[in-house]
Symmetry: C2
Subunit: 213 residues, 2 copies
């Protein structure tokens, strides 16, 4: 197989969109989530993110990276204002509408209405979920870290509520995301469906890995 090698300078010299597509491919497949928020004036907001990661199970924490707040970012503003946000998995049924939330609507327009997705509120949580989503997580802002290299913001949220299709919860706690219909993404605009290869047994030195499901 023939490989092409790019140095930092090669990457910096790429045309802007080419560079963006290229560097966005380097980490592999990404989670695709819709982040739901609401302002103090009760204006809801919805935005697609591909940077949500697991941070810890006890306490339950997720993290996500947000672009620099140099221009107006409603999601970040709302999270700072209210302290709450939701993470909603994207399925093949809603991925085109999810992608459309990336359009630069003005702040008076809710992306929920603009893309025909529905706000859903639970009794105990202030930020809006996406009714059409499958796995829905309500989080409370815990920490904000500014990445000095490019002024992006890494946000940590604690899980306050997780709403999961009952039949997708396996007996050892794993959520069957294939059954739920969650999809994955690559680059900035590429969406992919997922097929399970296998689960693997806990790794120990000198012990062969087994396929466990």
């Amino acid at each position: 197989m023939k490989y092409t090698s790019f140095s930092t300078d090669d990457i910096l010299n790429l045309e802007k969109d080419f560079r963006s597509n290229f560097v966005n491919s380097l980490n592999g497949f990404k989670s695709i989530n819709l982040i739901g928020t609401i302002s103090n004036q009760k204006q809801s907001n919805l935005a697609i993110f591909n940077s949500v990661i697991h941070v810890g199970a006890n306490p339950p924490l997720l993290g996500l990276l947000m672009r620099p707040p140099s221009v107006k970012r409603d999601t970040l503003t709302n999270i700072r204002e209210t302290g709450y946000f939701t993470i909603n998995h994207v399925t093949e049924e809603i991925y085109v509408r999810a992608h459309q939330t990336a359009a630069k609507y003005d702040s008076q327009k809710s992306e929920f209405e603009a893309v025909f997705l529905t706000t859903e509120f639970s009794e105990n949580f202030p930020a809006p979920y996406v009714k059409e989503s499958v796995v829905k997580v309500g989080l409370k802002l815990m920490e904000e870290h500014t990445i000095e290299s490019n002024k992006t913001i890494f946000i940590i949220g604690q899980v306050m509520e997780a709403i999961v299709p009952t039949h997708c919860i396996l007996k050892d706690g794993l959520i069957d995301l294939n059954l739920a219909g969650t999809i994955t993404g690559s680059g900035l605009d590429s969406y992919h469906s997922v097929r399970k290869i296998s689960r693997l047994s806990y790794a120990k030195p000198g012990k062969d890995i087994e396929k466990i499901g």
Copy 2:
């Protein structure tokens, strides 16, 4: 569809392994990468991570979350010692060996040898790549952020070198990860292959999204 709702307390009261599997499923599908490092004493190390995210394209930056350094963590120690590490995509051919790197080998044993993967060095970069991988990225440590909520460490690296199969680089810069054979993961032990649904056009208010590939 019937849903089950979990509060923070419900999650904290779950059995430890159940909670770990459950919370690790909440962010959706994850990137699966092997992180290659080497100590100052030239002992190589390889470890599987599911937390690598894109941080920025200009300068090209990736981030990853590492567990707390409360016990010996060779990957973090080596990154701090040398300032360099590699990120290597995992394919269906090597995922069982990749998973086995999670076993707690002692520091004198290289996971490369233990799991039968091969170190590969480029001319201009000190940390080892995985020969059997497809997309390989060499990074320089730029920043380290301690997440106060659970003492995990968020690392930022700048891309110094990206080695990519030539035929997988599309004309607009996106790397065709399906063609490369990169896989994705969920939870802590579940591996999945990926099929492209579609690429979508740039989102603008009032403009319909088109499938572009």
